[in-house]
Amino acid sequence: MESFSAILIEAIGLILSWDADVIEIILLSLRVTLTAVAVSCVIGLPLGAVVGAFRFPLRTGVLVAMNTLMGLPPVVVGLMVYLMLSASGPMGVLGLLYTPTAMIVAQTILVTPIVAALTRQVIEDLNGEYAEQFESLGVGRLDRVLALLWDARYSLLTVALAGFGRAVAEVGAVIIVGGNINHVTRVMTTTIALETSKGNLQLALALGLILLAIAVVVNGLLMAIRGTAARAAYV
């Protein structure tokens, strides 16, 4: 086995040479994860906002469900989606198993409860602050949810980024439903797992470094968002 420094140099070389395979893997990862996060936000933001802003029967049940789903083990989600999409499963005719769509579905199921639960917390706190003023102004239900979502926009951006962070680093679910088919379903995390076991450490490390860079960028964005919000006293 080569020395670590030699592997590291080769890995950096792979990145700097814009290796076509590496680029393809990165782009697919981003496409799958960004789509999943977008869908999760479309579902999770309004859901979390409604649960955060209103009292209704069975609300505690919804809360427990949301918080439980937030801790779902990814491999279990992968298995469930696999059973749904496999040829003999209820949605087998769609032929989605081992496609990027299957990976998007799995990641969406993983991220939506996170977005919903974190949104619920943010909106509930904000609603506590606004509720009486809203009552006084005569704000209707829809206006209330929209106003809360808008006024929590900076916090909700960080919620979306948290969802992105979780999804992009996820391996257990996507490997079950996506496999790691060259040029079809190879994403960063699954490739790292498989290439490492095959001994192709240069590619694995190159992708690992990219994932690390993404984590740095995400955290940088989080800091920048917090700074902007604080300057406008919007925290």
């Binding site: 006084s136 102004l137 209707g140 919007y234």
Partner: protein, 256 residues
Amino acid sequence: MSEPAIDIRAHSAVAPQPLMSARGVCFDAGGQRLIDGVDLDVLPGRCTVIMGANGSGKSLLLRLLHGLLTPSEGSIAWRGRPLDRAARREQAMVFQRPVMLRRSVAANLRFALSVRGVRGPERKTREAETLTLARLDGLKDRPARVLSGGEQQRLAMARAMISAPKLLLLDEPTASLDPASTLAIENLIAQARESGATIILVTHDAGQARRLGDDLIFLHGGRIAETGPVVRVLDAPRSKAAQAWLSGRLFVPNNP
């Protein structure tokens, strides 16, 4: 200022219908009676001042009159009808600690209009008028929450006035403001009155009560200790509570 409410009713052939009346209003929380048997009539166009020590129930009474709290006993009527959501839309309240949305000054004003269904050109006009009225033109694009205390209070007044409410409930709107900011708020209150609003004003400032008020309600321990024309109550208080409070002495009931 003008003669007190009681004289209008005594001398005019038709007494004006009160804008709001409370009968035997009580409010309990945490096993305690916090508001106890309040009766009051608010006549249209007048400014009623509520005074009383901290904790005497002034803010609670305003919340009850605004329909944010429901009386445990007694009833409140708004223009002869029950006090409901629709009634509340004809009122506006400035809270002791106003909450500003995380938006610009202008957007805070727009919000108060759009939730009442005022949109389009009319909203634009009202927004511009109100910004000028409250001297907030130069600050309209600033995030509301970075404004100074005095500016935020002007914005809170402006937001309350922009919907042209029949009744303005003001909870210590000039507490902790400097004289210039206080004057600005008092001018806004005077403008609201000129445009026909009825005012209920909670204040600790006797000078302000004299400048703005017609009638005074003195609260003590959740009860009305004394009511009457502002000048009369302030110059010659009859109740022990008002006498003690005005002379700066602490008055603790039920204590020997």
